[in-house]
């Protein structure tokens, strides 16, 4: 009896950790969404496809360079690419109604997917993992090193980003530009530059999410990030769309809930995970209409 209990407990802990691993990926992408939302009040539908695209770039680079070199190069390319997209595609419509900008990002979603198919073809690929897939024993419970690695990378990324926003001058400028563009401009913040930087950073977050998401799947193709974007959107809204902390907590929470529900509730299984997650979020929203950490917006729309 006691043996069975400990095994159940061990199993449960494993599921929680692997939930946290997928949660870390959702959190990274959710954070990217929040970053862009705070700066421009727009949900970037293309965030997932930007991440997918950079994952393919990483795959190409990894054919020529060692993993971590390719990793850093990919982040640099993602940053430049994200900023460039903002300059070329978002800048021209930045004064248009919000839904118009949203439609542009939907166009970007479709276009990036097509471009990736054109460049890399539709053969499924395998992305190298920086982490061993062997288990590691902690207190009698076997955890996957890959899961722990993903959690570590996601949390490190969030911490780095937090430090950047909180303690650097550019970070301060980014926050100011998001909070009050007009006033920031008056005190000398280059708001348009900040917007491009924000898109660059969001693309970097997405690139990390993509590179973490692809290896555990075994093979991946151009549809890699579409389900993950849905989870990330859900996570961002669950946490409160204007709250970075909420995005991270929402992402991790969602990862764990989805994994546990999929494992322990027969009815849910593999194919009902997303609907169940969304229904849970719906219930949370009805109780807290601005998400867990979001600010209750004034009803007057500017």
């Amino acid at each position: 009896m006691a043996l069975k209990d400990t095994r159940l407990m061990a199993d449960f802990l494993q599921q929680v950790v692997s939930g946290l691993a997928s949660g870390g990926i959702y959190a990274s992408l959710a954070l990217a969404l929040v970053l862009i939302y705070r700066a421009t009040q727009v949900i970037n539908f293309a965030q997932g496809e930007m991440a997918m695209f950079t994952t393919f770039i990483a795959w190409s680079l990894m054919n020529h360079f060692p993993y971590w070199v390719a990793f850093v190069l990919t982040l640099a390319i993602a940053f430049a690419g994200g900023a460039a997209l903002e300059l070329v595609l978002i800048r021209p419509v930045q004064n248009a109604p919000v839904l118009t900008i949203v439609i542009v990002t939907i166009g970007l979603l479709i276009g990036l997917n097509g471009l990736a198919r054109r460049i890399w073809g539709s053969d499924p690929r395998r992305l190298e993992s920086p982490f061993s897939t062997d288990p590691i024993r902690i207190g009698g419970v076997a955890f996957s090193i890959q899961d722990l690695g993903i959690i570590g990378v996601s949390l490190a990324l969030v911490a780095l980003l937090f430090g950047f926003f909180q303690y650097t001058k550019i970070g301060l400028g980014l926050r100011a530009a998001a909070l009050n563009p007009a006033a920031s401009r008056l005190v000398g913040v280059r708001v348009s530059l900040m917007l491009a930087l924000g898109w660059g950073l969001a693309a970097v977050l997405g690139a990390v999410a993509g590179m973490m998401a692809a290896p555990p799947l075994g093979i991946f193709d151009q549809n890699l990030m579409q389900p993950i974007l849905l989870y990330a959107f859900a996570a961002a809204v669950l946490g409160g769309i204007d709250s970075p902390l909420g995005a991270v907590v929402g992402g991790l929470l969602l990862g764990v809930i989805v994994n546990l529900a999929g494992t322990y509730v027969d009815f849910v299984g593999a194919d009902l995970r997303l609907p169940v997650a969304l229904v849970i979020i719906l219930i949370v929203l009805l109780v807290r209409p601005a998400g867990l950490f979001g600010h209750e917006a004034l009803r007057q729309r500017a």
Binding site: L109, G111, A116
Partner: protein
């Protein structure tokens, strides 16, 4: 919105001209084209509904495909042999397609009101996610409710005798018409009637209340507009339109299954509304045509891998650059007098 007499005359003439053109268009088109233009009418109906909610009332829905699915399934269930058993009484089985259309609209409308009431607590993106959640979850629900919906395989309507105009040559006013032509006339008749209804509704007190809420909930409430009533009603009407569109869609494709109404449909509806113009009605035809024809055109230009998607994206983004307020915004800029332009928000 008092418009000068000349403008009224122009409007009436345009409307009459459009209806006449619609009546004779199938004579010029092949039957395949007629079927595509029928689809334009169906999307037009759905976009009218979505615009009542999003364009006029400011509530964003990312899940209108779900209401279309409810309408489509209502029609399919009423027409199919399965029938709907309630309290020992079997409904339907012998219901003809055209009679199911209003019922489909009402069922979807009721679902819209039922959804609209809890949705009152949500606004902006949170509402968008809530509607999105419904649209994502619905296919799974449809798969699970097998006795009613036929599960993953759905309901086939092809060859069902209740399908007017299929197999037999239907005679209307002495002309025999093909199934596609029949679909065309059915869809456009419904679309023109519902367009007129929407226009009349939004013209008066009701439309003013919706727009007031969109522009400022605080000011609207202070002026005595009941936010709860109007926002819920907007949801209901919007869902009614989507339900009718879904019903026509089911008749058009002659089958429904959980993948007939995917989440991408909801997103394309939003694209259609923005292209057609938020807060405009007649120009939504262009949004509907955009949804129906652009994938086709993109395919025709190049079939190499990824190319159609890239062409589609390029056209969509270019359209947003050139017409950030949609076709409706363009028309408003030329047609409306300076004063209304100054005092209304686009």
């Amino acid at each position: 919105m008092k418009a000068p007499l000349a403008l009224w005359a122009i409007r009436v003439a345009l409307f009459a001209g459009a209806v006449t053109a619609l009546a004779f268009l199938p004579r010029l088109l092949g039957t395949f084209r007629a079927s595509q233009f029928a689809l334009v009418a169906i999307y037009f109906v759905a976009l009218l509904g979505l615009n009542v909610l999003t364009g006029y009332n400011g509530q964003i829905s990312l899940g209108h495909g779900a209401f279309m699915a409810i309408g489509g399934y209502t029609t399919a269930i009423l027409m199919s042999d399965q029938g709907l058993e309630l309290a020992g009484h079997t409904f339907a089985s012998d219901m003809r397609d055209i009679y199911t259309i209003p019922i489909a609209g009402l069922v979807a409308g009721a679902a819209g009101i039922a959804f609209g009431i809890p949705a009152l607590r949500l606004s902006g993106l949170y509402l968008a996610l809530a509607t999105f959640a419904v649209a994502v979850a619905l296919p799974s629900v449809l798969k699970k409710a097998e006795t009613l919906t036929g599960g993953s395989s759905g309901i086939n309507l092809f060859g069902v005798p209740r399908l007017t105009g299929l197999g037999v040559e239907t005679t209307v006013l002495g002309h025999t018409i093909s199934f596609n032509d029949w679909l065309y006339y059915l869809s456009w008749t419904v679309a023109v009637v519902l367009f007129a209804v929407a226009w009349l509704l939004l013209q008066g007190r009701f439309g003013r209340a919706l727009r007031a809420i969109r522009d400022s909930e605080l000011a609207a409430a202070a002026s005595g507009v009941s936010l709860a009533t109007y926002k819920t009603l907007a949801f209901g009407i919007s869902a009614f339109y989507a339900g009718v569109a879904g019903s026509l869609f089911a008749v058009h494709t002659t089958f429904v299954n959980p993948d007939t109404f995917p989440i991408t449909l909801s997103i394309f509806l939003l694209v259609g509304v923005v292209v057609g113009g938020l807060g405009s009605l007649s120009t939504l035809v262009f949004g509907a045509a955009f949804i129906v024809f652009l994938p086709d055109v993109a395919q025709r230009i190049s079939k190499s891998p990824g190319a159609p998607a890239m062409i589609y994206a390029a056209v969509l983004i270019a359209a947003m650059f050139v017409l950030p307020t949609g076709v409706g915004g363009l028309v408003r800029r030329f047609v409306s007098p300076l004063t209304t332009r100054l005092y209304t928000r686009s």
